[in-house]
């Protein structure tokens, strides 16, 4: 679904991405993990076209990301920070996104999360009056609304209570089972272990491991994903250093 080829990105004197190579499989959940400053957010932003690479390319579903915006009609994006215009209601926000995407109003949107989070009564209130957690639910619901073929979730469970977090994870897996490709970052390894089929370990702007979660755990001889990632961070790079 996504091919990343020798991607370089520099912010000032800082090399954030250093020749990153990556492939994200269609219909799978791929977790991007790595230490702070490894380039996770920059990678997601490059896939979305928010950040332009210095060199290299990103291909999403056969389309090279080069400033043309149409490929993004297939993408649902859930940013890390849910900040919306405070005086609009969540309903208006959904209407705005639908308008911008040119969605036919007669087509039913995927409002399963609205129901599952019991968001309906909150949708008519100005967003500024909603709590942080409720805003995060609105954020999640907005990402799934248009039945995207590619979901990009940046720390999706941050700020959600355990119940809502479970609802969201179930929704992600359901989306995957219906053929949606998911790219997710998180620092909560137990969440990723539930969700991810594949894991990419990013460090210093390069992918040091890309493969299935089970294989990584086996390679590092650890008991779970959290230990496996911690072991890789300790060792610095390769999973099979031993």
């Amino acid at each position: 679904m996504i091919q990343v080829r020798s991607l370089w990105k520099k912010f000032g004197a800082l090399d954030v991405l250093r020749g990153l190579e990556l492939a994200v499989g269609r219909g799978r959940v791929t977790a991007i993990v790595g230490p702070n400053g490894a380039g996770k957010t920059t990678l997601l932003k490059t896939i979305l076209g928010l950040t332009r690479p210095d060199a290299g390319e990103v291909v999403v579903d056969g389309v090279r990301v080069n400033g043309d915006e149409s490929y993004r009609s297939q993408i649902g994006y859930m940013p890390q920070l849910a900040r919306f215009p405070g005086n609009l209601t969540a309903r208006e926000l959904f209407a705005m996104l639908s308008d911008l995407r040119g969605v036919d109003p007669s087509i039913a949107l995927d409002e399963e999360l609205v129901t599952a989070f019991a968001l309906e009564p909150e949708l008519a209130k100005p967003i500024r009056t909603l709590s942080g957690g409720t805003r995060q639910k609105v954020n999640a619901a907005a990402a799934f609304l248009f039945r995207p073929r590619l979901l990009i979730l940046d720390e999706p469970t941050a700020g959600l209570d355990p119940l809502s977090s479970g609802v969201l994870k179930a929704k992600v897996l359901a989306a995957r089972d219906s053929g949606c490709t998911v790219v997710v970052t998180s620092h909560i390894m137990s969440d990723l272990e539930e969700l991810a089929d594949d894991v990419v370990f990013l460090s210093g702007g390069q992918a040091h491991y890309a493969g299935s979660v089970a294989e990584l755990i086996e390679l590092t001889r650890q008991v779970n994903l959290e230990r496996a990632i911690a072991a890789m961070m300790l060792r610095g790079t390769r999973p099979a250093a031993a």
Partner: protein, 263 residues
């Protein structure tokens, strides 16, 4: 409907419901009402209001615009993840702020006059001039604010540049013009001073307004030159062109920065 119009529709309704816009509108309403009550003379009231407008609009607009774009940063990222062209999004955000600000100002200022009835044709023209110039200044300083906020991600620096720019155009520039006038007092400087005035949007607006009042007779020979220039069709054309350039140049530069920026 283009993406610009769609963004405009929602952003404008967000800004229109904001507490700050309501305060801004009430401010002009209260000031216009108070000045009218004290002076009982529409022309004098407009003269006082001109000074308020020339001071307040650039300051509020440039500060509000800069802060607004910085605060919308995360939301802009979400919008940019939709299938939308960056320039169209920029256009929608710009109009979504400039239009409610202009409307708030125009409604606030004009209502007390309209309630009393305009009667006098000259007064109506002066009021219309003030409203148009206020809207032009709103458009100019919103564009400058967006250019600044698109150029630097450092909020403090952006706000500093915005306030400095306001100080330069609304206060320091006049000092500069006065120095030029004082130093070259023995020379025929009416035309160079005219050029200096045209180069600063606030001065341009101020002189265009002052010449509509009787006090311009006090301005001596320079006033006469100004009067013959700004009163002529050419003068009006050049004034309009200069204001349009002041709107267009920062908007185009800002849109270009916004288009190339890394979010």
């Amino acid at each position: 409907m283009s993406a610009t119009a769609k963004v405009l529709k929602y952003q404008a309704s967000d800004v229109a419901r904001s507490r700050w816009l309501i305060i801004y509108t009430l401010f002009f309403l209260a000031t216009a009402e108070a000045v009218l009550r004290f002076s009982n003379d529409g022309a004098k009231a407009l003269l006082s209001l001109s000074n308020v407008v020339l001071l307040v609009i650039p300051l509020v607009t440039i500060v509000f615009g800069t802060v607004y774009l910085y605060n919308a940063r995360e939301f802009i990222e979400l919008l940019l993840a939709q299938p939308v062209k960056r320039r169209q999004l920029f256009g929608g955000l710009y109009l979504g702020l400039a239009l409610p600000l202009s409307a708030g100002f125009a409604v606030g200022l004009a209502t007390p006059f309209l309630l009393r009835g305009l009667g006098d044709r000259a007064l109506a023209i002066t009021l219309a001039t003030l409203l148009l110039l206020g809207i032009a200044l709103t458009a100019i300083f919103t564009a400058l604010a967006f250019l600044i906020a698109s150029s630097t991600d450092d909020r403090l620096k952006g706000l500093g540049v915005a306030i400095t720019l306001w100080l330069l155009t609304s206060l320091l520039y006049d000092g500069l013009v006065l120095i030029v006038v004082a130093v070259f007092a023995d020379y025929p400087i009416a035309k160079p001073v005219l050029a200096l005035v045209v180069a600063n949007p606030i001065d341009l607006a101020r002189v265009s307004l002052l010449l509509r009042f009787d006090i311009s007779a006090l301005m001596g020979y320079t006033g006469a030159v100004f009067r013959s220039f700004f009163g002529s069709e050419w003068g009006i054309a050049i004034t309009s062109a200069a204001l349009a350039l002041w709107i267009a140049v920062p908007t185009v530069l800002g849109a270009r920065r916004f288009g190339r920026k890394d979010f």
